[in-house]
């Protein structure tokens, strides 16, 4: 049905396209303005349409256009030019080299600015610069492209969102992910934006740019602009579609049956490649169809996106429909502008079970999948489940619906003064269900079948209004804005878990049949519900932009913001920002220099943690002792805003007509960071409350360089590189030194992997240093303090008597993205390399399962890597399991061909392409994926459920619940009518 619908729309719109036809033919030559050389591969497009072509080897083109058309001629490295065709049949165009690209308009908070006037660190990316391939999460478009922005989706689980960090962690207890603003709507969810619909993305990196967003901008801001209809008339239809095939890139290296038996494992007679049994070649297909158009007063765009995505883990994936509509209308001599946007997403996911990947690694390779009688083989052992049975016997699915709309109206009262109001709402509904069958040893068997249901409802409301005044005087341009912002968030959810079902047939869909309902055991019937208060943020803001001589730029803003979450005396915070930029080249006139601009920005933002009621005592009721009320969290009415102040120094430069770049260095201080902390139970009955606990400082530098086309014959190569580095230090904290992040069972509880200490860098992996093997198979550790005895007991981890040291750091020293764009005639080729260096990972699979432990080999297969040490039989965490995870990968490679089109075919443009994601990885890391892991969700074992609160102070732990990395081949078509 879905496919039928798609075809129908396609043909209907194609027919509509045929109706426009009053054409003429135009041809000509495109040349370099300074040398006069022809430019092959330049784009020549009829303005306002998708009708276009590409110049041949001699720079010649030929195109059918409508009467009165305007041509838009563009090529990388040259300034785009528009030429009216008039009645001419031959239009030659010479393009001027464009090294500045400073005329670009960049969207910033509550308005836009010429790129030239910006005094903060802002990176703008347009569609052509996005990552390509099978991308289902808009943040993946940016991975590696923006210096300072880290985007990691370990393994690439299609149902998991990426972890995003801008300039490292910006807070400990609050939201560490950047604020997303979609078409002016603060806090919009990227879940409701299909990657196909994104026109451009701007990233506001430093505090001076983000301060206008107040508390929510503390972790940086990502501004997303969706595609719009064109004002120049006509309707165009675009189709983008692809098919992608993904397969497992790396398996966890484990013993083959022969090795396993030789190492002492019990031979159960079969030969099973468990990792292969639970994975597959996953085939996904994606279709996007968009209709857009408009005239002088009205533009529109409608798009629909269909995604049918499979993950490499069997059963995992989702089906999704997303539609988006935008309408823009101008009236009263263009004094009134109305914008309306609406989008809807319906996603149906099969989460499958990541645990199957874990047990596929660990399961006895000589065990059969099934017994002779057809039942699944199971051994009743700790943390041991037949992985094929986990997937086959149980279900884990969910539905998510997102809906949002916003209306923005702007009215120009005079030529200088305009006022804008924006109202929007966003809804998210989730309905998840799991069912573990009566036969499933994993979670189901001992409960007689187990069902879990979860549903949540979220509503976000935004109302903002602001006025802007712009005026030019002699050598000064002035731009002043002031406004008000109201944001409100409401959330409710319900969870139900119970078991003892009479039959597996209905399972989660017939909770009323669960026997646990009448057992009377509260511990078996797990029901909970919650609701948030109306969490509000209310703010007043103002900004002044002043330009002197069109060369000296001054920006200042202030936002006064209040939150419901804090105590009455501390609700309001003030967040100022200041920035100055100077176009030095305007005064210096240096030879060989095209651009030289210096920027300095300082800004303060605030942040608050997610939970509500920080300033109030919270009590819960439990049935212990026949019913009692007890305090679960102590109030802290004195809690105040966590503040981040950041100073950014940047240089933009262009040299020799070819090289452009930007260098930014920054220092950010996070003062009074907020943390839920253990407090003495003799004073605070709950033993926990939120406190302003300490101070973090991050220093970093970012560099981006682009070289505009190196020509080798007809081949043009445009390389670009982004580099970033940072480190974060804990400047102040109530606890001088502590360890955290437990390794877990089997056998390695109370083993903390990470050390956090005042005055030192965040992310230290901490433990004893492996030196060799004792005769009894136990590891021998180094006597690091030279006191003659080795104390590797966890209790002495921080004691001078203990022999512990830093074994690595989970945060990379250097992150690199290297883009290469190559064009040849109608061909385009793009290779994007991405790397991270200097970070280490704790390979927990090895830490548990590599030693040939006679007490455990029959429970778990052994990890088999070159790092394994002969004779070691005892698993105990040490430097042996901490690996440098430097890597360089060919992350994304695309080869495309654009067909020459003629008007007669009704096809305005046609491009086909093939793409590979994760083509290859160069690394010494022995685990599945060397990508950094920036936060930790803790250990989980024996069918338990994974925690949901990340610990951002514990990066660098490669846990056993990560998804397997895939290599994906994509073949796609873009068609314009």
């Amino acid at each position: 049905m879905k496919k039928f619908l798609l075809m129908f729309m396609f043909f209907f719109l194609a027919a509509a396209g045929v109706m426009y036809a009053q054409e003429m033919s135009v041809s000509g030559k495109i040349t370099d303005g300074s040398s006069g050389d022809p430019i092959p591969g330049a784009n020549v497009v009829e303005k306002g349409t998708s009708n276009g072509t590409v110049t041949d080897i001699d720079g010649n083109y030929k195109l059918s256009v409508q009467n009165g058309a305007t041509l838009v001629v563009s090529f990388i490295g040259y300034a785009t030019q528009e030429v009216a065709v008039g009645s001419r049949g031959v239009v030659d165009v010479s393009l001027a080299v464009d090294v500045t690209e400073l005329s670009e308009v960049v969207v910033v908070g509550y308005g836009s600015q010429d790129k030239k006037e910006i005094t903060s660190s802002v990176v703008a990316l347009s569609e052509k610069e996005f990552n390509k391939g099978n991308i289902n999460d808009a943040t993946q478009l940016l991975q590696g492209k923006v210096p300072g922005l880290s985007v990691y989706n370990k393994g690439g689980n299609p149902n998991a969102n990426s972890t995003i960090r801008l300039r490292g962690i910006s807070t400990v207890g609050a939201n560490t992910e950047p604020l997303v603003v979609v078409d002016g709507v603060i806090g919009a969810s990227l879940d409701n934006v299909d990657p196909n619909d994104i026109e451009s993305v701007n990233v506001l990196k430093d505090g001076s740019a983000a301060a206008i967003y107040g508390s929510r901008g503390s972790s940086g801001v990502i501004l997303v602009t969706t595609k719009r209809g064109s004002r120049t008339g006509g309707v165009s239809v675009n189709y983008n579609g692809y098919v992608a095939a993904a397969s497992v890139l790396n398996q966890q290296p484990v013993m083959e049956p022969g090795e396993y038996i030789a190492a002492g494992g019990n031979d159960l007679g079969a030969n099973t490649d468990w990792q292969k049994e639970v994975t597959r070649t996953a085939v996904s297909n994606v279709h996007n169809i968009a209709v857009s158009g408009g005239n002088e007063t009205t533009t529109f765009r409608l798009s629909s996106n269909f995604r049918n995505i499979e993950g490499v883990l069997k059963k995992s994936g989702f089906d999704q429909i997303n539609t988006r509509a935008s309408l823009n209308h101008r009236a009263f001599d263009n004094r009134l502008t109305v914008d309306f946007n609406m989008s809807m997403t319906n996603r149906e996911s099969d989460f499958s079970f990541n645990e199957a990947l874990r047990y596929a690694v660990l399961y006895n390779p000589t065990a059969p999948i099934r017994f002779d009688n057809g039942e699944y083989f199971q051994a009743i052992l700790f943390d041991n489940f037949n992985p094929v049975a986990i997937i086959d016997q149980n279900t884990n699915t969910g539905k998510r619906k997102n809906l949002n709309f916003n209306t923005q109206m702007s009215f120009a009262i005079t030529d200088e003064l305009s006022v804008t109001a924006n109202y929007g709402q966003q809804y998210t509904n989730v309905l998840n269900g799991e069912y573990y069958s009566r036969a499933s040893l994993f979670r189901g068997f001992n409960r007689g079948g187990l069902a879990r249901r979860y549903t949540s409802d979220n509503k976000f409301t935004l109302f903002e209004t602001y006025a802007t005044y712009s005026k030019g005087f002699d050598r000064i341009n002035l731009d002043v804005s002031a406004g008000y912002s109201f944001q409100e968030d409401e959330f409710e959810d319900i969870f139900i878990e119970l078991g003892n079902f009479p039959s597996d047939e209905l399972g989660q869909y017939a909770l009323e049949t669960a026997g646990d309902r009448i057992s009377g055991l509260a511990s078996n019937v797990n029901i909970s519900s919650s609701a948030s208060p109306e969490n509000r943020i209310i703010a007043f803001f103002g900004r002044v932009n002043l330009t002197f001589d069109n060369a000296i730029f001054f920006n200042a803003s202030v936002r006064r913001e209040g939150s419901t979450k804090l105590g009455a005396d501390n609700q309001w915070g003030v967040f100022p920002a200041l920035g100055v930029g100077v176009d030095l080249q305007n005064y210096l006139q240096l030879g060989g220099v095209d651009v030289l601009k210096l920027r300095v920005g300082y800004g303060v933002t605030g942040s608050l943690p997610g939970p509500s009621g920080l300033a109030q005592d919270l009590y819960n009721y439990s049935f212990q002792g026949g019913g009692q009320v007890s305090l679960v969290r102590d109030a802290n009415p004195d809690l105040k805003w966590e503040e981040k102040s950041e100073i950014n120094l940047g240089i933009d430069f262009g040299l020799g007509g070819k090289l452009t770049g930007a260098l930014d260095i920054y220092t950010r201080d996070i003062n009074d960071f907020i943390l839920e902390r253990a407090v003495p139970t003799d004073l605070y009955p709950s033993g926990t409350r939120f406190e302003n606990a300490g101070k973090l400082q991050t220093r970093g530098a970012e560099l981006s360089l682009n070289y505009n086309s190196i020509a080798i014959g007809e081949v043009r190569w445009t390389p670009g590189v982004v580099l970033s580095t940072y480190s974060t230090t804990l400047e102040e904290f109530i606890i001088d030194e502590q360890t955290r992040a437990n390794l877990g069972a089997p056998g390695q509880n109370s083993t903390n992997l990470i050390r956090v200490a005042v005055g030192e860098e965040i992310g230290q992996i901490w433990g004893p240093v492996f030196e060799g093997v004792e005769s009894n198979g136990a590891p021998r550790f180094a006597d690091l303090n030279g006191d003659g005895t080795v104390n590797s007991d966890q209790g002495l981890a921080l004691d001078p008597a203990g022999d512990f040291q830093e074994l690595g750091n989970g945060i990379p020293d250097l992150e690199v993205g290297w883009t290469n764009q190559v064009t040849y005639k109608n061909w385009d080729f793009n290779a994007f390399f991405r790397g991270a260096f200097g970070h280490s990972l704790v390979n927990t699979y090895r830490a548990f399962y590599e030693p040939i432990d006679p007490g455990a080999i029959n429970s778990y297969n052994r990890i088999s890597t070159d790092e394994a040490v002969d004779g070691l039989t005892s698993a105990q965490f040490s430097s042996l399991y901490v690996e440098k995870a430097n890597f360089l990968k060919l992350d994304n490679v695309t080869l495309g061909y654009t067909f020459n089109t003629s008007k007669a075919s009704n096809i305005k443009n046609l491009r086909v392409y093939a793409n590979i994601q994760n083509a290859f990885v160069i690394t010494n890391y022995t685990g599945i994926d060397p990508e950094p892991i920036l936060q930790d969700f803790g250990p989980v074992d024996n069918g338990g459920f994974l925690g949901t609160t990340p610990d951002v102070l514990s990066p660098g732990i490669d846990r056993r619940n990560n998804y397997f990395t895939a290599r994906t081949f994509t073949f796609g078509v873009s068609l314009g009518l």
Binding site: F463, G520, G625, G627, V629, G747, G777
Partner: protein, 509 residues
Amino acid sequence: MKNLFKILFLIPLSLLALSCTDLDEEIKGDFTSDFDPANPGVGIRNNVNAQSPSDGLSAAFTRLLNGTANHGSYFSVAEISTDEAVITQKGGDWFDGGIWLQTHQHDFNPAQGGINGAWGDLYGGVTQCNILLDEGGLDAAGTAQVRMLRAYFYWKLMDMFGNIKLVTTPGTDVAQTNRAAAFNFIESELLAAIPDLTAGRADYGRASQGAAYALLSRLYLNAEVYTGTAMYQEAIDAADMVINSGNYSLSASYADVFAPDNVDNVEHIFVAPFDESTGTGMNIAQFTLHYPSQLTFRLQQQPWNGYSTLEDFYNSYADGDNRKENNFIVGPQTDLDGNPILDLAFDKADPDGAEINYTPEINELFPNGSRQAGARFGKFSFKIGQGPEMDNDYPLLRFGEVLLNKAEAQCRQAGNWSAGVDLVNQLRSRASATPFTTMTEADFLAERGRELFLESLRRTDLIRFEQWGAAWWEKDAHSNPDYDIMPIPIEQINASASEAFPLSQNPGY
């Protein structure tokens, strides 16, 4: 120009008049004040336990459930540090950073997780008592019960950590005191509470005069350890107050005292009233049984194969002593149908192969303790089909202990270890063990061990009998008096660093 600026700011401001600046927070998902629950007695319909009294004291008394019979807190420290319980490292299982091996070998340090659990659970109880007392609204009997309860928590803290803070008002920090001061406080609190406590048996899970006197007998018996001054006559007198009250007596069956349906057993003086729904926190089946023993009892969750008993301790029971059969699970194990249960990951060196046979002998403490070795804990017997939470009430003070307290005080006072033989023989007779005619100090300690196994008293007993530093299986002898008290947990020292009175570490740690 000026006018323009005015307009510029007036427009948004006029819109503000229509908008909201209300920042009051109305919490919906949690309660923001204390209240008396309006559903007394909830949860008694389908289980074997009695209803908890609806007297507003539950918030404090249920704190007794925390750390008393679960892994990782008071119980673990009190048991694993002695000669009656051990957690061996079973290859890849139960190494846990070495903390349980160290605890067994008396290599104590402030970062071992169990002591922090104990501290937190016990002070959680103290604080809840302080809140109830501070809120007012309790009658004299209620106040007395809460003071007795707080004294009990403080006894455990003083006994385990020595130098503690005697906080009596919620939110008001006080300086750390020494052990003798804590002793005096506990004694005076108990004596002050007695007149207002019931002279009869207490309501289920609550405190009576008998409980206060029983705790006093324990306190006085150990007075020499705590303060340097012996108080044996006081111990005898306190014990007599319990014995002569007529409220308590020995249960005819030792097993009944600890069984799942042991509610209000005649021997119980003061209990932690565990219940699988309304009094959770006892997980003995989980932490002692081997994984496949799930089939023997059809447990709802797989057990963890952790704790067992030392062979010498198991052998301290003579054959025919009922307590030996009751307290331990040994030998070949079967499922409910009588079929042997299998450990498919058995160690090839194990003579029993895959079929599970709990042997009292344990091959080694670490690194490769056999998965099937060690007698398991059967004293608090298991229900078929039980979940991870058990129903058995845990006696914190019971008549049998009071008899032994009195007998020991008599022996010590008389300087003759046979002086208390009649009282001891009451317990031996019940267990069908041969009565003693004479006793030595070692006999007495061993008898206390056999009777009070798993009741978290062994550590205190070993210290009082000066056997704490003695050698036992896989534990060397030491003579470090600092080890008579545990280190203050590092987490608590950290947490208190920003308070008025930061905690100091105990000497020697």
